[in-house]
């Protein structure tokens, strides 16, 4: 399965769901938000949201800003 993850094409990921993906990426404890194809996938839906070939996934967290 090929995903666009934070702007890069990735074919090395095993995750089937959004929740799997976050775990696979090692982002467990950190506050993150996820968008799939431009829509936010809320926390409660992440385990149930299956990823499909060609999905565009954005994993968002905090950085410095003013």
């Amino acid at each position: 399965m090929i995903l666009t993850l934070n702007g890069e094409q990735r074919d090395d990921l095993a995750a089937a769901t959004v929740a799997d993906l976050l775990e696979e990426l090692g982002l467990g404890t950190r506050p993150v938000a996820v968008m799939v194809n431009g829509e936010v996938v809320r926390r409660a839906e992440q385990a149930g949201h299956r990823l499909s070939d060609g999905d565009s996934v954005e994993v968002i967290s905090l950085i410095g800003g003013g």
């Binding site: 968002i60 905090l62 950085i63």
Partner: protein, 273 residues
């Protein structure tokens, strides 16, 4: 030129509250410092952390961006004293109401609290905020439960409209973001404060300590300062300077300055011998 500040200089005064001033109230939040700081542009996280301490601030802006997947442990929250600081996530970089609302949804997902700095940019070159979009985003984010702190131009009526749209604080800019030119139009800021029922916080444009003191002397409720600290040659020392200048400006406003005169008035009585 610069002499080295000692490792841990005392932080008295943290803020004007140390002189009996009321705290800064934004919605349900109480801040003891009238200075809000940012987390952008610092040379490194340890400097940022030290500068945050030196600033005396208890509120700090952060932004939402893609996780750096090559360095997933590079988490800015590890470098912010969350015991003291309240987070103020911003919608920086949004050009539409929809984008700003989407950031709001993500802030809620990330359980970052109810504060949000509403910023809808209207011009790519000057990064000036879009007045109409900011009002609309403020209305929507307020309806979503956010305590909105809305960043805007120094348009007097716009500030009133933002308040009507639900903003818990209105944050007019002093000069273009990152320009460091101070408050270009003190008259407007003063008129905005005169008309406001919510706190007015000058956000963007201050470049040095005196800019902070001048802004506070206009009677505003607080300041948001990022680049002036982060891009100083010595950010920690500048954070001390800006902390004290903010307190000094507040006390100076409260103390009631002398009248200005065109001509002189002797401070020593006339010579009598």
């Amino acid at each position: 030129m610069s002499t080295q500040a000692p490792e841990t200089p005392s932080l008295f005064p943290h803020s004007s509250a140390d002189f009996g001033d009321a705290p800064l109230l934004v919605g349900k939040h109480t801040f003891h410092s009238r200075l809000i700081v940012g987390t952008g542009k610092y040379p490194d996280f340890p400097t940022m952390r030290q500068a945050h301490i030196a600033s005396g601030a208890d509120c700090v802006t952060v932004a939402l961006r893609r996780v750096d997947l090559k360095n997933p442990e590079n988490n800015i929250l590890n470098h912010i004293d969350l015991g003291r600081m309240t987070l103020l996530p911003n919608t920086a970089g949004c050009y539409t109401v929809e984008e700003a609302v989407q950031v709001g949804v993500m802030v809620q997902e990330m359980e970052l609290g109810d504060l949000i700095k509403v910023e809808v940019i209207g011009d790519q070159k000057t990064l000036m905020p879009d007045p109409i979009g900011t009002v609309e985003a403020t209305r929507k984010l307020t309806a979503m439960g956010f305590t909105c702190m809305s960043y805007c131009s120094d348009d007097i009526v716009l500030c009133k409209r933002l308040e009507e749209a639900g903003a818990a604080a209105v944050m007019p800019l002093g000069s273009p973001i990152g320009s460091g030119r101070g408050v270009l139009n003190p008259t407007n800021i003063r008129l905005i404060k005169d008309a406001a029922s919510v706190p007015i916080i000058v956000d963007a444009g201050v470049g040095c300590a005196s800019d902070c003191a001048s802004a506070m002397e206009l009677g505003v409720d607080g300041l948001l300062v990022n680049t002036a600290i982060a891009s100083a040659k010595d950010p920690v020392k500048m954070a001390h300077a800006i902390r004290m200048a903010t307190v000094a400006g507040r006390l100076s406003f409260q103390a009631g300055r002398m009248d200005k005169r065109l001509y002189a008035s002797a401070s020593t009585p006339l010579k009598d011998f």
